[in-house]
């Protein structure tokens, strides 16, 4: 049976979880190369070898790869991406059951803090270096991983709003998720943010530091959670490993709601996402609205054999990087395309963006077929490409093309 794996790739620690297993495997995101030979070790072993003086350690792997950096070890210059690839391969091989190999992975989902720009690319490249087909790999954000985790649990956890605090060396993060029931299709909306109040975990080593940390968390929670009804609050990250450090925060949270602490929550959420992709029918029949999903339906009004209909090019809630569409159209007495953007949430109104077909050859009416393709180079940006197809051999196609990027 194909394996579904979730990986939470972070700057300090990486967690790998196989769907269905109890334990999640966490290791520091570091790699070490032996001084004399080209042998690599990762995680705790990498630290040990470095302390023993056997090798050279490279940490902050994800950030280094994100910036296209390099590391020179033993006179050899390595691209950070190569080291990240090696790290990920090693991390995955440690959780795979004995006797099985990477090719048996049916779906792999990697979660990163913010799934955009360099971090997303670095994670995707590392995942692809495992040799899996592209359709088995997805990179999602922490918000989406959190949503999968919560939705895979008891319904009581997300009857009202569910919140998540994530405290790590990298900072303090807050996430929320709620189901939107009064809309066209039931949607799960998630959002997350890094809080400015984040603190270094080293302060928790002293009594005074723990008190300070506790009061910071209570202050944040007071501001963030006022005037809302929460079904459950989740805590994750190295900072919440010992909740005795934050007695006031704990008592604030434990008022008329459930509070749950989980290790490797994002990796578990990512593995739930992987497992869902292996199913014939999704176990989460919601429109996901978060940073790694499309916030709106993208459509155009067309005539299909004398009937007017709305041609859906991209659907709200779909992963933006996977959402592409093509259509061939024949403009009738018009030299523009109207793109309808219909937000999935209730707060925004539907809007129409007009794209003029500039630079197209002048031909009789209904003699210029256009090939329309839609893609999303990043979350929230629609890229439209309209090419002149002419009309077969009667009016040969020209090189005319219109590119437009629209903020959704």
């Amino acid at each position: 049976m194909a394996t579904a794996i979730g990986i939470d790739l972070c700057g300090d620690d990486t967690t790998v979880h196989i769907s269905g297993s109890e334990e999640a495997f966490t290791l520091p995101t570091v790699i070490c190369r032996e001084r004399e030979t080209e042998r690599f070790s990762v995680g705790e072993e990498a630290y040990r070898r470095t302390l023993d003086g056997e090798g050279v350690l490279v940490d902050k792997l994800l950030r280094l790869a994100e910036r296209g950096g390099t590391a020179t070890i033993g006179g050899t210059c390595y691209k950070a991406q190569e080291l990240l690839n090696l790290f990920l391969r090693e991390a995955v091989s440690r959780v795979l059951p004995e006797g099985s190999d990477v090719s048996e992975i049916g779906a792999l989902t990697v979660s990163v803090t913010a799934p955009k720009g360099g971090a997303r690319e670095a994670a995707l490249t590392a995942a692809r270096s495992l040799g899996l087909p592209a359709d088995r790999i997805r990179v999602i954000g922490h918000t989406e991983a959190m949503m999968y985790y919560i939705l895979s649990g008891e319904q009581a956890f997300y009857h009202n709003t569910a919140a998540l605090y994530h405290l790590t060396e990298e900072g303090l993060f807050y996430y929320e998720m709620q189901l939107l029931r009064g809309v066209r299709r039931v949607s799960a909306a998630g959002d997350g943010m890094a809080l400015d109040e984040g603190f270094n975990l080293d302060i928790l080593k002293t009594e005074a530091g723990r008190k300070l940390g506790d009061s910071i968390l209570v202050s944040c929670a007071g501001k963030l959670m006022a005037r809302k009804n929460y079904s459950a609050v989740f805590l994750t990250g190295k900072g919440f490993a010992d909740m005795d450090c934050f007695p006031q925060f704990r008592s604030f949270l434990c008022r008329r709601r459930r509070v749950l602490s989980e290790t490797g929550l994002f990796a578990r959420g990512a593995s739930a996402a992987s497992a869902d992709r292996l199913r014939g029918k999704t176990a989460y029949p919601y429109v996901f609205l978060c940073e790694s999903r499309l916030p709106a339906d993208i459509s155009i009004s067309v005539m299909n054999r004398k009937r007017e209909e709305q041609l859906l090019l991209a659907e709200a809630g779909q992963p933006w990087e996977e959402s592409t569409a093509q259509a061939e159209l024949l403009p009738c007495r018009q030299d523009y395309i109207d793109i309808d953007i219909t937000p999935a949430n209730r707060t925004e109104q539907k809007r129409t963006v007009r794209v003029p077909l500039r630079g197209f050859p002048k031909r009789p009416d209904r003699c210029t077929k256009i090939a329309l393709s839609v893609s999303f180079p990043q979350a929230g940006t629609l890229r439209l490409c309209v090419k002149d197809r002419g009309l077969g051999e009667i009016f040969p196609a020209s090189d005319a093309c219109v590119y437009e990027e629209i903020e959704i």
């Binding site: 155009i300 299909n304 054999r305 159209l329 024949l330 018009q334 009309l391 077969g392 051999e393 009667i394």
Partner: protein, 280 residues
């Protein structure tokens, strides 16, 4: 104003021999039917068309409906063909019902017209599509019919009218020859036109071709004023030719980098040669 959704193109096209075009989609078929109804009627085989719709474009339901429409109350195969083509225009959604009806009227007028008029209309359509060989064939058929009618004419008036028409057809044939740079052939046809009924058209034609000299007597019937006017027309035609799509196509091709230029000009030349070689 609307955007019409197109189906995917066929893997194997529907070939129109008359137009020398491969048609890959329903829109292209409809374009040809609407803009060249006479040729579509002559060229499109109903069964092949229905097979193309069903097998290549995956439009089985439409094909079945059209088959029914084609059978309808048609009195002749030609009428059935017209009914089928009009139904296709109407059902495709690319043309409005009014446009489909207008097309049907054109087809009916064509079917009910005299054979020589049909040949003439076909010849003109083919000429505009640069299908010179077929255009010449149509004009030749028209010429044969009109010549026969002139031979059998009962009155001198009727005969004269038919000879004027014959001269006109000869001029049309000369125009076809000129398009293929066969000026000698064109001049022979203009002489035939003069023989049938000396007229202004042939004289003007000859003058515009520049094959007359002040002392060869070929300018007979043209006054100085007419000659001046024709010279003006010739210059206008030259200017218009510089703006014609065909000239622009050649100009664009000539401006391409070497490899592509040869390829593009070669394609134009091959098309011309294909027409030329087929000429009798």
């Amino acid at each position: 104003m609307s955007l019409l959704l197109c189906q995917k193109d066929a893997e194997n096209p529907f070939y129109s021999e008359t137009l020398d075009l491969r048609l890959w989609s329903l829109q292209e078929l409809c374009y040809v039917i609407y803009n060249h109804p006479l040729l579509a009627l002559r060229d499109f085989d109903g069964n092949e068309l229905l097979l193309f719709l069903r097998k290549e474009l995956g439009l089985s339901a439409l094909s079945d409906r059209l088959a029914q429409a084609g059978k309808g109350n048609a009195a002749s195969p030609e009428e059935a063909g017209a009914a089928l083509l009009t139904a296709l225009l109407r059902e495709s959604g690319f043309y409005t019902p009014a446009e489909a009806e207008a097309c049907r009227s054109r087809m009916e007028a064509y079917q009910n017209g005299a054979p020589e008029d049909r040949e003439h209309a076909e010849g003109l359509s083919l000429f505009r599509l640069e299908r010179y060989r077929l255009s010449e064939e149509s004009f030749r058929r028209e010429l044969a019919i009109v010549s026969e009618q002139a031979r059998r004419a009962r009155s001198g008036k009727e005969r004269d009218a038919l000879l004027v028409r014959k001269a006109d057809i000869c001029c049309s044939l000369a125009a076809v020859r000129v398009r293929l740079f066969d000026e000698a052939g064109a001049l022979r046809l203009l002489a035939e036109a003069d023989e049938a009924a000396p007229g202004e058209r042939a004289a003007r034609f000859r003058y515009l071709l520049g094959k007359t000299a002040p002392d060869d007597g070929a300018e007979a019937g043209l006054t100085d004023e007419e000659k001046k006017s024709l010279s003006g027309q010739k210059e206008t035609a030259r200017q218009q030719a510089l703006l014609s799509p065909r000239y622009r196509e050649a100009e664009t091709a000539a401006a391409l980098p070497q490899g592509k230029r040869e390829e593009a000009l070669g394609a134009m030349l091959r098309q011309w040669k294909k027409e030329y070689r087929r000429m009798k």
